[in-house]
């Protein structure tokens, strides 16, 4: 792909708290469908976005007393699907969870395809990218 780009995203919000997480994943999805190479540096609460122990629940308020009916969104599944989408379209994805942020939260159990890293990884990602977008907690 002649116009293949490499993009880096820094995410900071925990899942299930703000719409910024979904917006960030939507942007990453567009890049994935274009076959771009993608880097993600998950900082602070964002290390919980690919947390492996997220579980669906039922929701009687929605009239869905069964888990299957509710089909509650799980960001870890979205991240997993994004990793698959990147690979399918010939791109590469490097999702790095800030290690100290993981430790202080006990968020060590991540889905496959996520690795532990440090701020130096973020700098290396950014310097090797066409552009970098920071989506910070406000």
């Amino acid at each position: 792909m002649a116009d293949k780009k490499t993009l880096t995203f820094a995410l900071m919000d925990a899942p299930f708290e703000t719409a910024r997480t979904t917006t960030a994943l939507r942007l990453i999805d567009i890049a994935a469908r274009r076959g771009y190479d993608i880097n993600v540096f998950a900082y602070e609460g964002a290390v919980f976005v690919p947390f492996a122990l997220q579980k669906q629940h039922s929701n009687p308020v929605h009239g869905h007393p069964e888990v299957e009916e509710e089909d509650h969104p799980l960001p870890r599944e979205w991240v997993s699907a994004l990793i698959d989408e990147v690979m399918k379209n010939g791109g590469k994805i490097d999702w790095v969870n800030c290690g100290l942020c993981v430790d202080e939260r006990g968020a060590g159990e991540s889905i496959e395809g996520v690795r532990r890293g440090a701020p130096g990884d973020f700098w290396a990602m950014a310097t090797a990218s066409d552009n970098t977008l920071v989506i910070a907690t406000k």
């Binding site: 820094a10 900071m12 900082y43 602070e44 440090a118 701020p119 130096g120 973020f122 700098w123 290396a124 950014a126 310097t127 552009n131 970098t132 920071v134 910070a136 907690t137 406000k138």
Partner: protein
């Protein structure tokens, strides 16, 4: 590559983190060889105030011994030759005079921010 970290959101879990997480990230990335400067704007201009004191934090018998030292963290960046800019109007809006602030800051007016941004490859707005 030269990056300007713009910090606007202030006191984001600073008690839990013992620092501002973006100031910390700037320190850590600078240590990894990054070319970074900082612009403090909006409520984050208060990070430069010398007289900050978080007092004593305790929950029951659990006393928190180490707290954030934000002005020292900013001064530490300046000592590492990071340019720290601060928005003049944001200081004035909050009644913060120059003698209340740490040394070594570079004031920039709102009108001059766009020109400042031109000096950087990337602007990361936190």
């Amino acid at each position: 590559m030269k990056v300007l970290n713009v910090i606007a959101t202030a006191y984001r879990a600073t008690l839990e983190e013992q620092d501002d997480t973006v100031l910390w990230l700037t320190h850590a990335m600078k240590g990894a060889g990054a070319e970074l400067d900082v612009l403090l704007r909006a409520n984050a201009v208060n990070y430069a105030v010398k007289a900050q004191d978080i007092g004593r934090l305790a929950f029951g018998e659990r006393v928190q011994k180490q707290g954030p030292r934000l002005a020292e963290d900013v001064a530490g960046l300046i000592a590492k030759e990071v340019d720290v800019y601060i928005v003049t109007e944001d200081l004035a809006d909050r009644g913060l005079a120059a003698d209340a602030l740490i040394d070594g800051l570079k004031e920039v007016s709102r009108a001059d921010m766009a020109t400042l941004f031109d000096d950087y490859d990337h602007i990361w707005h936190w």
